[in-house]
Amino acid sequence: MSLLEIRHLHKAYGDKTILKDFDLTVEKGDVVVVIGPSGCGKSTFLRCINALEEIQGGEVLIDGEPIRRSAKNISSMRQKVGMVFQSYDLFPHKTILENILLAPLKVQKRNRSEAEAEAMELLERVGLADRRDDFPRQLSGGQKQRVAIVRALIMHPEILLLDEITAALDPEMVREVLDVVMSLAKAGSTMMIVTHEMAFAKAIATRVLFLEKGEIVEESCDAKAFFEHPKTKRAERFLKSFEY
């Protein structure tokens, strides 16, 4: 059984189709990078996976179980899918530690001392252990995004969705965040990454999806080959646009 299976996913806003008849299977340990021009449906696609978006057709299965917005088990299904957003979305009135502990304590009902120990361990890993009692406003964008990653990791998701997590960062902070993601990939985390950082995509991807107008135009299991010699003209044109 695959970790994530998407069958005939159809997503539309009114008459406007965003994703049409989308199929995808993700296995444990895959690092799927999703690229494509803006407005091609990449973010919407990620948001459909943990049912942040209503879908108009098809289904999304995690461990063979469908994830549906109105289903009784939606809370436990969503816990299997961690998500990190472009705008960090940390809780501004909570300290870094409280930000991380909200979900393990209130959603998973874990024991505080155990969860706190894990939070500190994870903060240590991203180099922010000394910021535990700070508030988000005291952190830089890159630091906030690392906290957001920790906040997702502490839930022990089976798959992590990263939605343009460096798009709002100053260039010098992109690196520190990508390094964290890279170390997660090396540790075997399953991830789906929407990004515009092509060099990073090439380095981290085990699979690449190139999307345009809500469809998979090109799919490759060899990131290096895809970025150097894309098979389709459209992917080639897209990759060219990143060069000067």
Binding site: S75, S76, R78, M83, F85, P92, H93, V107, A152
Partner: protein, 220 residues
Amino acid sequence: MWDKTMVIMLLEGIRDTCYMTLASTFFGYVLGLPLGILLTLTDKGGLAPNKSLYRILDIIINIARSVPFLILLIVVMPLTKLLVGQSYGSTATVVPLTLAAAPLIGRMVESSLKEVNAGVIEAAVSMGARKRTIVWKVLIGEARTSLLVGAAIVLGTVLGYSAMAGVVGGGGLGDIAIRYGYYRYETGVMLVTLVFIIAIVQIMQGIGSYAAKKLDHRNS
């Protein structure tokens, strides 16, 4: 005129005014807070959109808010009598004051909760948080400064209403001001009560603003 009984009367007036204001605001929140939460949840784009429920609550609040307080005071007298046993005095005034405050509070709470960044709410949803957790930990937790500022405004408004209740023997400083200033032409007494009312509003507003500032972690 400034004898002991007058001083005692004024002190009692202050006490009654504070009592009416605080009690009504408290009961107002007991009714208004759930109302505000319900409005936020059921509105379009909320966590549990329900068009008809939102519409009904919306209309009820609009109607309740358009009734002038003085008229509300008289209209609800039978209810007041039923609940308190009499229709005059400061405890009796708490009933119409609460009914006037609740819809106002509902609206204030709604607008505060809607200020909470949608992305932050979505982050909580994506973690599998249930509505109850999101309401208490995210919506109310993150809107707390705005809620406190709102509470200070509500206190000032309710205090103003409580003074109006003096017209029908509602007790408190407003009652004194009307009895002495309006019926007996003792302008001095009226001005003194006015000063007290202003002072109380200032203190309440000050505490509210101070608390809100203390609890705000968004900016330095």
